[in-house]
């Protein structure tokens, strides 16, 4: 759902009046633990990408055909820690969100 600042501007009834608005909706605010990648340890195996339930791992296929793990999409990452569990080289650390409070 798009962002609204006032009940007067919103469509009534919770209706979402256009399609594909999920991209505008940040669900990562639920997260209490934040995954942090140690790129020096990462072997770019992409198991985190495979297991992430929220498609919150960014990655790409390079020109040489090898995969590269690029980081996390914190707009959607809910901090479940699956990526850290599955990582074969323990390159992902889960840190409390309180450490990132401004």
């Amino acid at each position: 759902m798009p962002k609204y600042d006032s009940w007067k501007e919103m469509p009534i009834a919770g209706v979402i009046d256009k399609p594909a608005t999920a991209r505008e909706y940040n669900t990562g605010t639920w997260r209490i633990m934040r995954p942090i990648i140690n790129k020096d340890a990462c072997i770019n195996c992409m198991q985190c990408w495979l297991y992430c339930p929220d498609m919150a791992i960014n990655g790409r296929v390079k020109e040489d055909g090898k995969t590269e793990m690029l980081g996390f999409d914190y707009n959607y990452c809910k901090g479940c820690g699956t990526c850290a569990e599955i990582c074969p080289v323990n390159a992902i650390e889960m840190k409390p969100e309180t450490e990132f409070l401004k």
Binding site: M1, W7, I12
Partner: protein, 389 residues
């Protein structure tokens, strides 16, 4: 040419529905609402309406089907009573929050338990905070009229709020009386064609109905519902005036009976008002300045109108056909609250009557007037009419 029929209240409501000709009716039979659905099913079977009739397996399904149908963009109605309404409860709130202008006659009946199929208002009161417009009717004629009025009101764009039309179980729903029907075309023109704002079936403009709504916007959507009810309050006089033009019958927030100079005022909903009017006439013959107020509109509650009608009177006796256990009776507490701003506050008393269909006699309805005449009203005491003390 308007037609006069000798019919039950249930048949009168079914005729109003036939003339409105909704696209979908989904309902489950429950005493004493059953004849409304039976009559309507007959109209469908006889090809008198274009309605798709959906016989469902429970009231929870009935209200769910009705929500789906109305969200799709169809003009949709259902009807229920008491425990059927209780089974619908979850979806009754959802219908209101989805702003679907469903019209639902409620044939008022006592909520179990102990189990009882007869008339009282515990069902209507149980959904007073659900976000529906709630209209009340004294007799079959009013039930017929209110069904048509409810449709017009609920579908107004600034309102878009579902509406219940309350009529008393058995007394109104099964009692036969004369009812003046408008011509079919007149009703059809009056309600017009509903053009839904967000029809799900409009595949060119895909939209989502009923998504998850957490701490970010749930609050705002409730504020919008409140606005819908405020707009219903503003729209009601206009809709009543339009209805008067086609029917000659005049409605308002409150039915004021012999109120011009009344000092002792009874307030009561629905069919008991007929008996109360009879009692008021008797008291008037004895020179007692008695009067009666029967709210036609319960939600949005006509607080301002009540204050204006009650200020300066000697005594107000509020009758409730249901209890609110451990608290003041529903109509009484609302009337009492409306009087908070009165400069000249009358005596006020609360009377519970007619629970589970207990007969309501003129002698019974004289008691509150007699108490008031003796100066014996206690704002903090709930009294009972016709109770085996």
């Amino acid at each position: 040419m308007p037609t006069r029929l000798a019919v039950t209240g249930a048949a009168a409501v079914a005729h109003a529905m036939r003339q409105i000709n909704p696209d979908v009716v989904a309902a489950y039979p429950i005493t004493p609402q059953t004849p409304i659905v039976e009559y309507y099913a007959q109209f469908v079977a006889d090809g008198l309406v274009d309605t798709v009739m959906v016989p469902v397996e429970s009231e929870h399904s009935a209200m769910s089907a009705v929500v789906g149908s109305a969200a799709a963009g169809a003009r949709t109605m259902t009807a229920t009573a008491a425990n059927g309404l209780a089974l619908m409860f979850e979806v009754v709130y959802i219908a209101a929050s989805m702003r679907l202008p469903i019209v639902m006659p409620i044939v008022n009946r006592a909520l179990s338990g102990p189990i009882n199929i007869h008339g009282d208002h515990s069902d209507a009161y149980s959904v007073r905070d659900a976000g529906w417009i709630q209209l009340f009717s004294e007799n079959s004629q009013e039930a017929y009229d209110m069904t048509i009025i409810a449709t017009k009101l609920a579908e107004r764009e600034e309102v878009l709020t579902p509406a219940m039309v309350n009529l008393d179980g058995f007394i109104t729903s099964h009692g036969v009386e004369g009812v003046d029907l408008l011509d079919d075309e007149v009703v059809r023109d009056f309600v017009g064609i509903w053009e839904p704002k967000y029809p799900l079936l409009d595949v060119d403009n895909p939209i989502t109905h009923g998504p998850l709504d957490l701490f970010d916007y749930y609050f705002e959507h409730h504020r919008q519902q409140q606005e819908g009810l405020k707009n219903a309050y503003k729209a009601l006089p206009e809709v009543f005036a339009e209805y008067e033009k086609i029917s000659g019958r005049k409605y308002d927030f409150l039915d004021l009976y012999r109120m011009e100079d009344a000092e002792y005022v009874m307030i009561v909903l629905n069919s008991a008002a007929s008996t109360a009017k009879y009692v008021v006439d008797e008291l008037r013959e004895q020179g007692i300045k008695a009067g009666l107020i029967k709210p036609w509109v319960f939600t949005p509650f006509p607080k301002k109108e009540l204050l204006a009608a009650l200020e300066g009177r000697k005594a107000i006796m509020v009758l409730d056909r249901a209890m609110s256990f451990g608290k003041e009776a529903p109509l009484y507490s609302l009337v009492k609250s409306a009087l908070y701003e009165a400069k000249d506050r009358p005596m006020i008393g609360s009377y519970v009557y007619g629970l589970g269909g207990r007969d309501v006699t003129p002698a019974m309805l004289k008691v509150p007037f007699e108490d008031a005449l003796k100066g014996d009203l206690d704002p903090n005491e709930e009294r009972y009419l016709g109770l085996k003390e």
